[in-house]
Symmetry: D3
Subunit: 135 residues, 6 copies
């Protein structure tokens, strides 16, 4: 059950603004597969376009972080925000970019550790050490 309709390919084809984005997703990803997230966003073509362009600008360009590192950071945020869909989709994306079982295990270890110390710090209300200041 969703709170919006998930648009079919046929419905998407019928609206040029949606078709343009779906075509670009397919070209950029070199795949015919359009996942449900975009089919939901397509209810608002302007939001669909902005979200896809934002994602493309961050995830689908050359940069100083390699694509796998970006996917792992994405998984970390999605986990902390409790987004099941996002954890699934970005774990699949990380696997597709070569994440090994060992790397996944280390990612989980860091996520779990960070959550633990985040909560300990908050419960103790620890003040920031001046040594952490960025000169």
């Amino acid at each position: 059950m969703t709170t919006v309709k998930l648009l079919s390919d046929q419905e998407a084809e019928a609206n040029p603004a949606i078709k343009l984005v779906f075509d670009d997703i397919r070209t950029t990803r070199k795949s015919d597969f359009i996942n449900n997230f975009w089919r939901g966003l397509a209810n608002d073509p302007a939001l669909l376009k902005r979200t896809w362009e934002g994602l493309k600008a961050v995830m689908a360009v050359e940069g100083t972080l390699d694509p796998l590192a970006r996917e792992m950071i994405y998984i970390a945020v999605s986990t902390a925000n409790g987004c099941s869909y996002c954890v699934h989709s970005h774990t699949a994306a990380a696997r597709a970019r070569g994440m090994t079982d060992a790397q996944h295990g280390e990612l989980l270890s860091v996520i779990g550790l960070a959550a633990q110390t985040n909560h300990l710090v908050t419960a103790m209300q620890i003040p920031v050490d001046p040594e952490f200041d960025i000169p």
Copy 2:
């Protein structure tokens, strides 16, 4: 203002269980600096020991993720969990491990993007695509 006392070096020295951990932190990190987090945890020496050993096992060992990637994942979780202290301390640690301004900018970009799509997914209650299943 904290909810626990932050133990001074003198107080830590007076308790062998605490001293052992503080000495190991200093040796492992090759630095005399003990940040406030450990001084707060020292109120419960068993919790201090467990937390330090957990952190050392995840962050201070060779693995398949490089130390900078681990710090970035730590920052991502700490941001989503809203832990100011942790954001400060692990951004400082990432800088110390060579994070450039460009890398920090990309890290922020991924964190912001993930948070945005996490919330969009949750608001639309998008079902997981079967294609994301791990075979």
Copy 3:
């Protein structure tokens, strides 16, 4: 699977304290439908009564915010807190109060944007501008 029993109409009828609240829900909402949330809370009649009276005092009275605006704010909080049930129930309530697809799209846009900037601010630890002070 729940962590409490969901009380049937028959079980609710058998307890006067629960029956009183269920009757008031039906009268206030002009509908026979009692959703699962109240059937779960009914395990603790005092908690059921307090929660219903709190909700009625906020959502079912005349005020300076129109009922649709209140439902949208409710959806926003429920999304950020990751409550699937609440997102579903209050999106349905907003639809029942006339929310259009265009309004829903704008609501999603604001929610996504806010989440993105919330995380960017936290990751940068931006200090509050004095200009934001309420005189």
Copy 4:
């Protein structure tokens, strides 16, 4: 800096609806001290009244959980929700109800552990075991 004015005793005295609640807080707690939370809520006397009555009904009555256990649960939720003020105020309340350093250390241990396993579970998307069903 706050987003609402904190009402002084003089301002509170001038409004009978506020005065009634402040008087009841003082009587119930057997103390003249009104903390800032109530001074902020007093901008909306109806919200002040509802919130105080809700809190009194949960925290200031006889029940099956002892008052210290309730304060510890309050600290746990406040920590996970990242509310500094609430962590401070309810840790002070727990201390006033006799929480020892050892109990505080155990509380922190459980909070940190729960946060860690919460995140591990979410990152792995573990399905609920049928054995956990409440018969």
Copy 5:
């Protein structure tokens, strides 16, 4: 203390990519004031540009939600995400758009109520009623 430098007007003027965005912020908002958020983002001109354009497209255009409603939704999300800066800046923005004390009180009431029922639902693991399905 921040994790990035906050760029001064002089530093911003020296970089055409930043200057372009700062100029557009000033023109769009009809004010010389550039708040700290943008001064932090300016460390990464591409992120600055994307974030500003995203915000402008959602918050500074005509739409079906009035500007005050959008600010209130922004406050709601920022509160649930625990972003102090965002709560301050968007409460100030809502005040500037005419939010009255009574409206603020109702906003707070809905936020508090939603948080309460979000947590109750999650603790009881209530299943979504089929009646909430969007036809």
Copy 6:
């Protein structure tokens, strides 16, 4: 659907590092049942071992908090972090340790109340009263 494989007993038996932990779980809990959480963690035997030992040290030892109080705190954190699995597993554990319906109702009441006041405090940005300082 999970993001890791859930190891069967046969697969666990085949790896001595996993077998050792599973045996200890069974011995400590005096039950043959190994829940899915451990079967997922078993993909990374070192993470499995660390997590189990951390949990055993906090939850399965004598201390100043009774086992039921610890389970209730665990439920509180898990609820605020939105972890369905954890809410289910620790509510089952609390029931097994004797939690009554009345105690569960009070636990829910405190969780809901704390969430409400957490959000109200954050939306008002209430400063910590100096009276809450721990001497």
